[in-house]
Amino acid sequence: MRGLIEKDLRLTFSRRQTLMIFLVMAVIMGGTMDGSFLVGYLTMLGTIIAVGTISYDEFDNGFAFLMTLPFERKTYVGEKYLFCLFMEAVSWCAGVLIYCIGGLIRHSGVNPVSELPMLLSLIPVLFLSVSVFIPLLLKYGSEKSRVALFLVFGLMALLVFGTKQVMSGQEQVLQGLVETLDALPEALVFLVITAVCGLLSFLSYLCSVRIMEKKEF
């Protein structure tokens, strides 16, 4: 596991220029934009960079050699989820820091403590994207998974559209649901979101392990 983390860190830092561009963009956004969009943006970028290490592993038939190294396939999968979570947490921290400093400079009255539950819930929610990306990348590879990802998001859009159609004329039900959720303590909402996302991520991990165990190189 330590060797895999070392590899992924080094692969990530081999993209120094990309990382610097993202950071400069984040600083500019932090200095000019109100709202916490920046935190979500940076967290998502960190996640995408971390997931991208799978494409680096796969590049030039690299998986075959990688799988001869001393770890088991499920260790590889577990490390990917952990590495993505780590990168997500680091980029979230960077985002919050820039957001707070930007707020202080612009005197926009940023109160990170009151926004903390909302900001924190970005981590489990955005980790769901990792839970979609990793099994797709492992199953289809970086090229084919783009098509698969397009299909997944297409299905999600259809689901949202379908739900909207079904619920049309019943806006009061939705309104009631939103009001009920709004009335709940933020900490409880955060815990529920974390639990649900955690469960879905664990299911994704199990799928990824199964995909990897069956994969031939």
């Binding site: 330590r2 060797g3 983390i5 070392e6 590899k7 080094r10 692969l11 081999s14 680096y56 592993d57 590049f59 030039d60 038939n61 690299g62 998986f63 075959a64 050699f65 799988m67 001869t68 190294l69 001393p70 770890f71 088991e72 260790t75 031939e216 190189f217």
Partner: protein
């Protein structure tokens, strides 16, 4: 060390079907033309593909079920796969030192320098020979008990080939108990390294012989058509029609030398074996 028991792997019309054994401390070579099944076998041995039938065991453990700790005793160098091209030698050093408890960092660094592999250059900027050297050095720098080398010298110039073979010889001198499985279609590489050689063709073993016997007892006979008609063919393994007559492969060099004085008899080589056993009549 390694037991391959009725391994079968099928890809479309290609079928790999073989059994073999690699003893402790033995250096075993596998030769065969491109597409003979060498790489498929290596992949099955390293657990990268699953056999359709049969099993491969390494020290009594199913090859595809090895734990990380057990895999640490194996060093592998594959022909078309290695560390990510985005990494540098210094990255590889750090990764290997965390991967293998027995990784000899000093040995690795020293040999990288000796082989002209710069620490700060990306692998993507390496020449074919440099990449091959890095693959071999990565495999031999953690005191592996089993080395698996798939075409380590393929596509290299003479100098790079010799450098890699010297590295392997030096490693074998220092680690006498290490077992090695090496595939190649360059016969001279194997003749100088291996204790025994398997010839595989179309997924099957055509021949298994000790290298000493192969080089000492095998011979190529070159005979005219007339002489071929009169030749005792009891000990002819394979033959091929040539412009001057026939080229024949035999395991009984002495028999033909004694009974057919004046016949052109050349010492056998692995190249002759490949050419005549896989392309002759």
């Amino acid at each position: 060390m390694v037991i391959v028991d009725n391994l079968v792997k099928t890809y479309g019309s290609f079928r790999l079907d073989l059994s073999m054994e690699i003893s402790d401390g033995a250096v075993t070579g596998i030769v065969g033309k491109n597409g003979a099944g060498k790489t498929t076998f290596i992949k099955a041995l390293l657990g990268l593909i699953r056999p359709d039938e049969g099993r491969i065991t390494i020290n009594g453990r199913e090859a595809s079920m090895l734990t990380g700790r057990e895999k640490a005793s194996i060093g592998a160098a594959l022909s078309e796969s290695g560390f990510s091209a985005y990494l540098r030698v210094k990255d590889v050093t750090a990764i290997l030192s965390k991967m293998y408890p027995t990784f000899d960092e000093e040995y690795f660094r020293k040999n990288c320098r000796a082989q002209g592999l710069p620490e700060d250059k990306r692998i993507s900027e390496f020449s074919t020979g440099m990449k091959a050297k890095l693959r071999v050095l990565s495999a031999i720098s953690h005191r592996a008990e089993l080395l698996v080398m798939d075409e380590p010298t393929a596509g290299l110039d003479v100098q790079a080939r010799n450098d890699i073979l010297d590295l392997l010889r030096q490693y074998l001198q220092e680690n006498e108990n290490c077992s090695v499985l090496i595939t190649s279609h360059i016969s001279s590489d194997l003749e100088s390294l291996c204790d025994d050689i398997y010839l595989i063709h179309d997924g099957k073993i055509l021949l298994h012989e000790d290298t000493d016997v192969l080089l000492g007892s095998y011979a190529v006979l070159k005979v005219s058509e007339e002489a071929y008609e009169k030749l005792d063919k009891s000990y002819i393994l394979a033959g091929r029609k040539e412009a001057f007559g026939y080229t024949c492969l035999t395991r009984e060099k002495q028999f033909y030398a004694e009974n057919y004085p004046g016949m052109v008899i050349e010492n056998g080589s692995v190249d002759d074996l490949i050419l005549l056993m896989t392309g002759g009549h």
